[in-house]
Symmetry: D2
Subunit: 345 residues, 4 copies
């Protein structure tokens, strides 16, 4: 299979390079860029020296579409919105890791993203690639909108409760924490080492773009679901997301019932691991892997369930789930190339 990666010099691109090297069907990989044409990939990423002996090609959507069977768009905002149709017109599968195609309602997109939405035809063709919950649509899709990192952690954690209509309306609070790699490779004051180490920050309070993405999917699953509170925080680490989620139940559940909902929901889904009672995941326990680990607690004193969901934002939150979707789209084993043990310690 001929694979193209557009935006190969960002962290999403680098992680695709790492994971695809382990994938038996991905032997012919081309790298595209809009900013570093002709540069050898090892100049951007010395860690792939001798592994990928290739230079970056200029991004021309027509050429990319023609020369690829599948394209990963690991691009800044706006690129996918503009070029996905043309690439896909060559019969090429497109998996978009940017957020351009995630929000189905252009008005909501423009409110939260503060930029024009993609054309409605493109949006409508894009299938939301939350692999565990949208499997059938993914299998027959040509264009995948790969979920955001926070939404992946949050939605996998909330899905069993929301599907079972167990949550009180308006009670969902998501306190999310991420490492810095989600902010990308561009150097900013926010993620400058001297500003970030020995520091813990909250950011984009009540305004993060992943809020409507989570709300949209929850609402699709259960149309009672409305506005949520979602607050992201920045942790002095590179990889990992933890979403600590607080929901009020409609009626009490025993711990057994609670765990049973989750085991049923994720039975046969290899990348979601439910922790035993009184056991909660830490982000490092999924480091470098495609797992989402979930811990659960029901507090009788308050009638509240706390759901703890962790992923590696670069893997299950980006490149890993993209490859999982590639596998589903092509009828391959869902976990092909993704059987990586987390890097620990």
């Amino acid at each position: 299979m001929r694979i193209g990666i557009v935006g190969a010099t960002g962290y999403g691109g680098a992680e695709l390079l790492r994971l695809l090297n382990n994938h038996p069907e991905a032997k012919n990989i081309q790298l595209y860029t809009s900013t570093k044409e002709g540069v050898h990939i090892e100049e951007s990423y010395p860690h792939v020296a001798t592994i990928y002996d290739t230079s970056l090609k200029p991004f021309n959507p027509e050429v990319v579409g023609e020369d690829s069977d599948l394209v990963f768009m690991a691009t800044p905002p706006g690129v996918s919105a503009q070029h996905t149709q043309e690439i896909a017109s060559h019969g090429t599968q497109v998996i978009d890791l940017s957020g351009d195609l995630r929000i189905t309602d252009p008005t909501i997109y423009e409110t939260w993203y503060k930029r024009p939405a993609a054309q409605i035809e493109t949006i409508n063709q894009a299938v939301y690639g939350l692999s565990e919950w949208n499997r059938e649509a993914i299998q027959s899709a040509r264009i995948i909108s790969n979920p955001g990192c926070y939404p992946t952690a949050a939605l996998l954690g909330l899905a069993p409760l929301i599907h079972n209509d167990a949550i009180q309306q308006h009670s969902i609070i998501i306190d999310a924490k991420t490492g810095t790699s989600g902010a990308g490779r561009s150097a900013t004051m926010m993620t400058h080492f001297s500003e970030m180490n020995e520091n813990f920050k909250i950011y984009q309070v009540n305004t993060h773009k992943h809020t409507p993405e989570i709300e949209q999917q929850l609402h699709q699953w259960n149309n009672e679901s409305g506005a949520i509170t979602f607050q992201p925080h920045l942790v002095p680490m590179i990889r990992g997301i933890m979403a600590t989620m607080y929901v009020q139940l409609k009626k009490p559940l025993t711990s057994e019932q609670l765990f049973s909902l989750y085991h049923q929901a994720y039975d046969g889904k290899p990348f979601v691991r439910i922790r035993k009672e009184n056991n909660y995941p830490a982000t490092k326990e999924v480091y470098g892997s495609n797992y989402c680990d979930i811990g659960l607690s029901y507090d009788e004193r308050t009638g509240r369930v706390t759901v703890v969901s962790v992923i590696d934002n670069m893997v299950k939150g980006a490149a890993g789930q993209a490859i999982q979707n590639m596998n589903l789209m092509n009828g391959w084993d869902e976990s092909m190339g993704l059987n990586l043990v987390p890097v620990y310690p």
Copy 2:
């Protein structure tokens, strides 16, 4: 003033040494220990070499009481419960940094702490040392129970709303994050560098001992207030606490009204700084100092207020607030010895 520090080899003791060196009234300091008698303090803490040229004395409560005008108990659980009365019987002021005397109801103490409570007479004499809110009682106290680190951050953040009866019952959720120094100097797997770096953990879900401490104070302020949800997390950093708090309002407030409540509450209180609208504190911005910085946001979509409160757990959450209380007890300027600019970066 003759000052004794019991438990000088722990982090609480070390931080007292750092801060008291800057305090004009603290010129005669004795260090006591139960484990390292006779050892020179610089063997435990090379960083104080040439500054404190003194050895650790054995802890004998009678001697300590007799030889000190004020004693800081920076001790493991149980020591203060047992010895505070005897020390205080010499007319000595006692400031207890352990949690032994914080919970007024022995049953609640024993439920959460899983150990016997102190004698009720000792508990009753101890004044809860939340400096900004309990000033008068502190000024006339002989025994201070210094607040926990999490409760300090949480209570300073919630106080204006709870005093104004603005919060819906049962709606308080505190998602708290701390650096590792709060866990003390004893090496444990939990805080082993290889386990903790590049990692983010939740711990003691629904069972942390600071939960009843926060509930007790909130209830005292407003007897409608009941059980809260409090989940602590461990951040790969040494110092700093952020409490992100979610409350549902009884009735909507404008942003102006919300900020006004806080400004009124903390007017003239030098260690609480309220951030401007759309501006939120990071933990490093109070690093090494006695400040508590608070940011606020009201979200119209959900009717929920998010309060962000940060402290340095070693200072405002322990040794700094203890010295602030010492100042209040002795009629000195509240901020004597505590005018430290945060260490940044």
Copy 3:
């Protein structure tokens, strides 16, 4: 192939689990312990849950020898010295990751290790497993003494110069820096997060056990080589070693000659990557992989060469090189199971 891992709950054991999961010949793996018999591996290491569904067996050398074709000893000092012979007597291959069998002269061992040496017969049978330089002996060995992490980085960096007799006698200085994982999983004050973060330490000045291991190999390569200066430092990171090495040349070399020596030495050796001129490796560029990256600089002002050699101490410095040796011993492709792209960022 039936593989046994003795000491599976340490970090060396955990890294073997991670890497062997990727190895096509390693499908039957048994885990042995002296301290946690009967415990499921996921209780020690939640990150391998669902991947390794197995419990720890008691370590009995006879059983281990009988039930395994190859055994990795990832054990504390003394265990291999005592039990390797018995395990090997069953025809089992043994790869020892502890330092028990590295020093051929028992007197030197006892001077530096402060403990009794293994029996001389065992020592004599053990082949030093520096894969790139001892390939033939490894291929026919039954017992491998896997090199220490520092010696691996240092020796790979110095070998081309020492083989070409280019270094002035007594001029070798190795300033080495490591992450904390090399210190193992046991919690200690030295590697307590609060003591280690935002800190940089030197330790075991002039007394580190890896000193005679490096000297022994250098001397074997070039009998002019004598005592070296080796100073290890601890970096606030988990994985990675950098050895910065300073040597005085016997006679000047042009940069071209210098690089040419290294390219010749490592031609066809897939895990050693020589950087281009004016380009130096950082530890993260080999993170999680079996690579050793080497940078070089000759300074005309001083006649000194600086060699910069980086590895991941858990991989090329331990489990990865052990697997590389397993591959060589069994006639498999040297890089089988080790084609991992470094984890970046």
Copy 4:
């Protein structure tokens, strides 16, 4: 005393703000900038909110000279070279924290700095402010060239040996490690958190600008001293420098003699602390303070002395030593405002 800080929004400026707040003679402080005129300092540095209630003034050298008794230049390269004379012409004391005036030979400056040197008159008036070793000249100086961070650590560590002519010519090797704050506040790829955490880097191999600064001072102390090897490394931490230095002795010294040299050299110098034998400093042990801690080891096997010198690069390596020099210039107690206990942990 009226104090001006030019370049107040950089880290050097921020550290001056922190330390001067503790200084009894520094009550009138003006902040100057070339880039953020009119901005309130708390917008750049929220951590000083309520402590410094002042806005940044435009940098006009004439006005600054007229309105200040002493000026700290915490400016990028070139500013001091251009404006120091004019400021000083008003009778104003100038302490320059940039490197503009450190190298007395313009040719050497231009070779290493790759930019034009300052006018020779300015250079000649500037006194090198290594407080412990240049006290008399500093006391009568009008312009101080404050030493670089690395040279401070290195020179304090080497001075006793070089003054006693104990070191073999051409044998000095300085392997130096620094936190990221020395690189300043501008966001760069090099110090981007995702690139820097869990990473250890070498940089500017054989080309760092501090090399000639160290050589110049060593040569001034002992004209046998020539070219040195100096290699800087970047540690994933914010503050702290360790210089590990290797020198060959002319003739053997007993440990007693070695330590005696250092104790004599630093007797009565409050900020240099010599460690006991077999005890070595870690960078955190001077964190946030003006101390330089030094450890020593003589290795009989190699005839080599290892000197370990640590400082906080922001304090003794920049703002702290600048204030120490201010104190000396004005006849105040050398340690006025600098009696800070290191922040530990």
